[in-house]
């Protein structure tokens, strides 16, 4: 495969694809590891040559896929700062947040063969880290739900509200309650830097509520959107 440069039309798309696939796997894995849903709905699948747990529930899968489908154009245009998976208890107070910070490193060109296997390796390591994260996190109370937030830059959210990328899947501005956590402690989980993505983990530990950051570094903005999750 020839080298891809930043000017290539496909570059942004490739990166966005890789990232969204990874996010999907990571979200499913977090749901499994943190026991948000009973483990019976999960099935072992293979990704990046290692086994991962994916849910089989169609509505759940559809929700996650739709969310990421909407996020993908944001990543392509480099407008998504971070994707946050918030885990909330029964009263909808956030107890945990897994933050994927996305950033674009300033490299101009990539040669795809070694790069993709390198990226695969890094993503594998990330997935492994998620699997063992419950060593550093407290148990969640029962009956938790989750929601996905996207922090974008500038006014990208306005477009998202106006144009429905997916029909009947509206995005709304997130409540402050869900975005902010009190006494949040940051727990770094994993940092990954590659030529096409920068991913970093940062961790803080907290008793009351926890924020675990998986940062995929891109540059950022302050508006967060969320989509409703039926659970």
């Amino acid at each position: 495969m020839a080298t891809l440069t930043r000017q290539d039309l496909n570059f942004g798309q490739v990166v966005a694809d890789i990232l969204c696939e990874f996010l999907e796997v990571a979200i499913h894995l977090i749901l499994y590891v943190r026991e948000i849903y009973p483990s019976g709905i999960f099935q072992k699948r293979k990704k990046y040559n290692v086994p991962v747990q994916m849910s089989c529930h169609p509505e759940l899968n559809q929700y996650i896929q739709d969310t990421l489908h909407c996020v993908k154009p944001l990543i392509q245009k480099n407008e998504a700062e971070k994707v946050v998976m918030v885990i909330m208890d029964k009263e909808h107070h956030p107890v945990e947040r897994f933050v994927f910070e996305i950033s674009q490193p300033p490299l101009l060109s990539i040669s795809s063969e070694t790069l993709l296997s390198h990226v695969e390796q890094l993503l594998r390591a990330m997935i492994l880290k998620i699997s063992v994260c419950d060593a550093v996190l407290d148990n969640n109370p029962p009956g938790c739900t989750f929601t996905l937030l996207v922090h974008t830059r500038e006014a990208a959210t306005r477009n998202m509200e106006k144009v429905q990328v997916i029909k009947d899947f509206p995005w709304i501005v997130a409540d402050e309650q869900e975005v902010h956590m009190e006494e949040a402690k940051l727990i770094p989980l994993k940092t990954m830097t590659s030529d096409i993505l920068k991913v970093s983990h940062s961790q803080l530990f907290c008793t009351e509520s926890q924020v675990s950051w998986l940062q995929l570094k891109h540059r950022c903005s302050r508006i967060s959107l969320k989509s409703r999750c039926k659970t």
């Binding site: 483990s39 293979k46 290692v50 086994p51 169609p58 896929q65 390796q121 594998r124 390591a125 419950d134």
Partner: protein, 447 residues
């Protein structure tokens, strides 16, 4: 040996929150695997005695002889610490027990164990058995001519194998379908892996199979019949396919005299996680790094496949699945597919048609499948050609089918959990799409 390794392990486990398996440790520190096992054991002892600090969890590899249905087989499994005594008690003879891994997190399934070793082995692919205790003098890398021959023979059409035997711990096995096409790049990996492990293991299996008289069913017994030992890998590694649920228990009978080392067991690299029993069975690591790259082609098309595999998905208790398809159209073929209790494949039956907006009514023969419960309590899916009338601008009323499905499914299902019931209802409605060709007028009638 000095105690520096204890600090090393401590750093890995506590500071870096890694899973330290004995194999990873041996490759990282450059020591023999048995030394690594000892290291882990000492570390564990030391930490447990201190009884302070963060709790540690460990998994153990237990191998021994078990008897089931009158036949003895050698069983190797990776178990969590809390299940260790139970598993040992179930075995007639426990041949070996050693620490498999040490970690801080309590693992819910065995996937991270595999992931931990994956990269370490991949880096040391050429000499990943340098520190291993399993040796075979005849295992050498293939020369390039042999490699080419192997590549050609490997492109044989896939053989469908059905392995369904209730496992020892309620494990069930799934069908496995080695994929025919393997990209050439993989063969290189296979060749070097071949050298270290596969040849020896396939040879051992072949000799043992001849000695076997009992009904021991192994995936290798099926693959041993194949001429090419390379196909063994496709058979095993293809079992990793997500579509087929990779729940296998491999039972092998080995005469202890024929094995190279006392603890030598043909461990295959499949991991299956059992939620019921929490026993992790890890089979041979022979083809561990050889996971078929055909999965790469699937990784990009994961989404459409998720739906397919949903339909195919078997729960942890599978019944034997027989599918007999008679392809001739005019006589009605009766296809009996006893599907497991939890799964219903029900296609919308003919009352899908819209009576309104009929442009032209035609009759045609359509292959419809009907699912019902027969007297044994098994679900039977009958596929038949049914002559039905349709109109060119017919729409599938999804809501109708949903409502109908939900009512019938609620009656049919047994003690299934609520979520799964709804899930399968939605599954069936979501999975079925109209397959007729859209007519040009259809554009105007759709909402």
């Amino acid at each position: 040996m000095d105690d520096l390794y204890l600090d090393n392990i401590d750093e890995f486990v506590n500071d870096q929150n890694k899973i330290v398996t004995y194999k990873w440790l041996s490759l990282t520190l450059g020591v023999h695997v048995n030394t690594a096992k000892q290291m882990l054991y000492h570390y564990l002892q030391q930490k447990r005695n201190e009884s302070s600090g963060t709790p540690l969890h460990a998994t153990y590899l237990v191998s021994g002889k078990c008897v089931e249905n009158g036949s003895t087989y050698h069983k190797v499994s990776v178990v969590r610490e809390d299940k260790l005594d139970a598993v040992k008690a179930k075995m007639d003879v426990t041949i070996s027990v050693h620490v498999y891994s040490v970690q801080r997190a309590e693992l819910k399934d065995s996937s991270p164990l595999y992931s931990t070793d994956y990269d370490a082995v991949k880096e040391n692919l050429k000499n990943c058995n340098k520190y291993s205790a399993i040796r075979c003098a005849a295992a050498v890398p293939l020369s390039s001519s042999e490699l080419q021959r192997a590549q050609e023979t490997a492109l044989v059409p896939p053989v469908e194998k059905e392995i369904s035997k209730p496992g020892f711990n309620e494990n069930t096995s799934a069908t496995s379908k080695p994929s025919a096409k393997q990209p050439a790049g993989i063969m290189g990996m296979f060749a070097s892996k071949n050298a270290s492990k596969s040849q020896e293991s396939s040879k051992e299996v072949k000799t043992e199979q001849k000695e076997d008289s009992s009904l021991v069913e192994t995936s290798k017994s099926k693959t041993a019949s194949k001429a090419n030992p390379m196909s063994n890998f496709f058979g095993k590694s293809a079992q990793k396919k997500a579509d087929e649920k990779p729940n296998k228990s491999i039972k092998e009978e080995m005469d202890s005299s024929s094995t190279a080392s006392a603890t030598a067991s043909l461990k295959q690299s499949q991991t299956s996680s059992k939620s019921e029993t929490d026993v992790k069975e890890e089979q041979s690591k022979v083809s561990k790094a050889l996971k078929v790259e055909s999965k790469d082609t699937r990784s990009k098309t994961k989404r459409p496949e998720v739906v397919d595999s949903d339909d195919e998905k078997m729960e942890s208790q599978q019944k034997k699945r027989r599918r007999i398809v008679v392809p001739d159209s005019p006589p009605v073929p009766n296809v009996h597919t006893p599907s497991p209790k939890k799964q219903v494949k029900r296609e919308p039956v003919s009352h899908q048609e819209e009576s309104s907006e009929v442009k032209r009514r035609k009759r045609r023969r359509v292959l419809r499948s009907n699912t019902f419960v027969d007297e044994d309590g098994a679900f039977v899916t009958e596929k038949g050609y049914v002559s039905e009338s349709y109109s060119e601008s017919e729409e599938e009323p999804e809501s109708n089918s949903q409502a109908k499905d939900s009512s019938s499914l609620k009656q049919s299902f047994g003690k299934r959990e609520e979520e799964k019931k709804e899930k399968s209802q939605k599954k069936t409605s979501a999975a079925k799409k109209p397959t007729k060709q859209p007519s040009i007028m259809g554009f105007f009638q759709k909402k």
